[in-house]
């Protein structure tokens, strides 16, 4: 293969190994709770890696990612809710959609493509902006998507819960999609488009002067990123099975952005490491909160304890390591160095 150079071969192999290892651990642990946590972890990996494709390579902070996830979750859910349920969930649904009920996996894929399509239309005019203007427009885009989802009751059930989605996301499906996302991100990063986009990130004027078309490079990256966000949304929707617009708002946006920044936004390894680290510590803290709640010795409730500790850790972490865990080097670089040394 022309695209897979040496480093990427090690990168992809490493993460294939890691994913399989997690799958095997889950097989031996065998509890429902653990499987739920691991499945969610892989959905977050898809989400963060998707964000890395745009944010890491173009250097532009994007707030709209969770908005795209929202579009993916609602559109795929809309396609896969069984016909009998539709009357309950959405009373004023348009007749065209009333009798549609597709296989969940197909509707997740269609949801991803639809999200990419929407992103393509919405973001093309925004791609020429940079710095603060680019950040603020993406923030405004998130607000617009949120407001439309809350307001468009006929399709989304408004601010109320959107339910009745069949549960279809299993751990295997999440792992396969996550592996696809990771492979794509690595190959994209070292492809012609990825290299050119990274050049525009480091110095936009110099890159443009050697012929890089900034607008189309960024546009391609955000479409790919939105596609993965849509897929992650679909998987999430078919895992949780009922949700409301509140699930796709500022809190989640910052959770995903902090996963990426803590891991290191310039590398795919960083995106995955950030998702792993933040999500696992989040679950552990949640667990502690629950243990305290149900213990007989302490009677005070600790709502919000998880967020407080997570916020403090995040601030301390970013003060000591502002560029993230994996600032410049992918894990494959390190592995190859070790292996090459051994050969000598």
């Amino acid at each position: 293969m022309k695209f897979i150079n040496n480093n990427n071969f090690y990168n992809i192999l490493f993460f294939l190994g890691l994913f399989v290892a997690i799958y095997i651990i889950n097989y031996f642990v065998g509890t429902v709770v653990f499987e739920r946590i691991v499945t969610m972890l892989f959905i977050y990996i898809i989400l963060t890696v998707g964000l890395q494709i745009f944010m890491g390579n173009s250097g532009i902070l994007s707030f709209a990612h969770i908005g795209f996830m929202c579009i993916g979750a609602y559109s795929s859910g809309l396609l896969s809710i069984p016909v009998k349920m539709k009357g309950f969930v959405l009373r004023d649904l348009y007749p065209v959609l009333q009798n549609v009920s597709l296989d969940p996996i197909i509707s997740i894929l269609i949801g991803g493509i639809f999200t990419a399509f929407v992103a393509a239309i919405l973001t093309l005019p925004l791609m020429r902006l940079k710095d603060a203007a680019a950040v603020i427009t993406s923030f405004a885009l998130l607000m617009v998507i949120h407001s439309i989802v809350v307001g468009w009751s006929a399709v989304t059930n408004g601010p109320r819960t959107f339910f009745g989605i069949p549960k279809a996301t299993t751990l295997e499906i999440a792992i396969i999609f996550a592996f696809f996302a990771v492979t794509f991100a690595f190959i994209y990063k070292d492809s012609r488009f990825g290299l050119l986009l990274r050049a525009t990130r480091d110095n936009d004027i110099a890159a443009e002067s050697i012929g890089a078309n900034i607008i189309y490079l960024r546009w391609f990256a955000i479409i790919a990123s939105a596609f993965l966000a849509g897929i992650a949304g679909g998987l999430w929707g078919h895992f949780i099975t009922s949700f409301s617009p509140k699930s796709f708002y500022l809190k989640e946006t910052f959770l995903v952005i902090s996963m990426l920044v803590i891991g290191g936004s310039f590398t795919v390894t960083g995106a995955i490491a950030g998702a792993l680290l933040v999500y696992i510590s989040f679950e552990i803290l949640r667990w502690i909160e629950k243990v305290i709640k149900f213990s007989d010795y302490i009677t005070i409730e600790f709502i919000g304890l998880t967020e407080v500790i997570l916020a403090i850790t995040m601030i301390i972490f970013l003060i000591t390591k502002p560029k993230g865990l994996f600032a410049f080097h992918e894990i494959g670089d390190t592995i190859r160095k070790i292996l090459v040394k051994k050969k000598d």
């Binding site: 603060a132 203007a133 603020i136 405004a140 407080v308």
Partner: protein
């Protein structure tokens, strides 16, 4: 009808302008959005709630609460901005948001998730009538307070040494530093004034709502944010103008749009923000010609 509309726009706009002014002060110097800005209103509200039991008169309580929001504004600088400011832009956005989450959840953890009452003097909600306009006293007070604040602020920026230093820092931060302006002092002052404005704005905001809850900071933050983008991210006059324009747009929507389109109001407002950034990225009033962040 028209006069009523004007009074409504002016009173809402003066509040929006205060919030926007506080946000643009820090943005103008650091070129960074302070996501913890809205939480200063939360700090103000909960300070008032906690002081409610004390025997002091209301004005004293409000004064202490405003001092608290100034204190937390300076704390934002020391905790979220100063350590990461020069290393990474995205890191600052996240630390400031993390600080906001910290304050929100601390309120949740230590006080309650349920809304709490904030003491307000009763005369604020009395209505007055003049020339066919009926409006609560607090609307007139918020117009008056805002204009007094703006005049004091203007004089402060024009007449004092530190005001001059702040304007210099907002124009070209690096050059100002090289000429011997102490950067940290200027930034801390900006945060302190930002906290003061958020506290005063918070007083007026609370007199409207009458209660405080952990999610209260979001709306003031969004208002300040949109108003600054519309008016101009770099100029103080722009932020004030933006506040009034936003109030005008919001009020016109309220008066004109039918109920089932009104729920899309935010979508319209934010589309407007995107369009402004596309057509006129500088906002309506251009600030000093510099965009280099330190």
């Amino acid at each position: 009808m028209l006069l009523q509309f004007i009074v409504d726009v002016l009173s809402l706009g003066s509040l929006y302008a205060l919030f926007a002014l506080g946000l643009v002060l820090v943005y103008g110097i650091l070129k960074l959005v302070n996501f913890a800005y809205g939480e200063l209103v939360l700090v103000f509200g909960y300070s008032m709630f906690l002081l409610n039991a004390s025997p002091f008169p209301w004005f004293f309580m409000a004064l202490v609460a405003i001092l608290m929001s100034i204190f937390f504004s300076i704390a934002t600088d020391y905790i979220a901005f100063r350590p990461v400011r020069e290393k990474s832009v995205t890191a600052v956005l996240i630390t400031s948001f993390a600080f906001a989450t910290l304050l929100q959840n601390a309120a949740l953890l230590l006080i309650s998730a349920r809304p709490k009452n904030v003491p307000m003097p009763s005369f604020l909600s009395d209505s007055v009538q003049f020339l066919s306009v009926i409006t609560p006293v607090r609307n007139l007070i918020s117009i008056a307070v805002t204009f007094i604040c703006l005049i004091i602020f203007y004089q402060f920026m024009k007449r004092t040494h530190i005001g001059l230093a702040m304007r210099a820092a907002a124009t070209n931060f690096n050059m100002a530093r090289m000429l011997g302006i102490p950067a940290n002092l200027v930034i801390t002052t900006a945060f302190a004034i930002s906290g003061l404005l958020a506290g005063i704005g918070g007083t007026l905001w609370m007199s409207k709502l009458g209660m405080v809850f952990p999610g209260i900071g979001l709306e003031p933050l969004l208002i300040a944010f949109i108003a600054t983008v519309i008016g101009g991210m770099r100029s103080v006059q722009g932020a004030v103008l933006g506040g009034f324009i936003l109030a005008f747009v919001d009020m016109s929507f309220n008066y004109l749009l039918p109920q089932d389109i009104l729920k899309f109001r935010d979508a319209f407002t934010f589309t407007f923000v995107i369009l402004i950034l596309l057509i006129r990225p500088e906002g309506l009033i251009k600030g000093p010609a510099t965009g280099i962040r330190t």
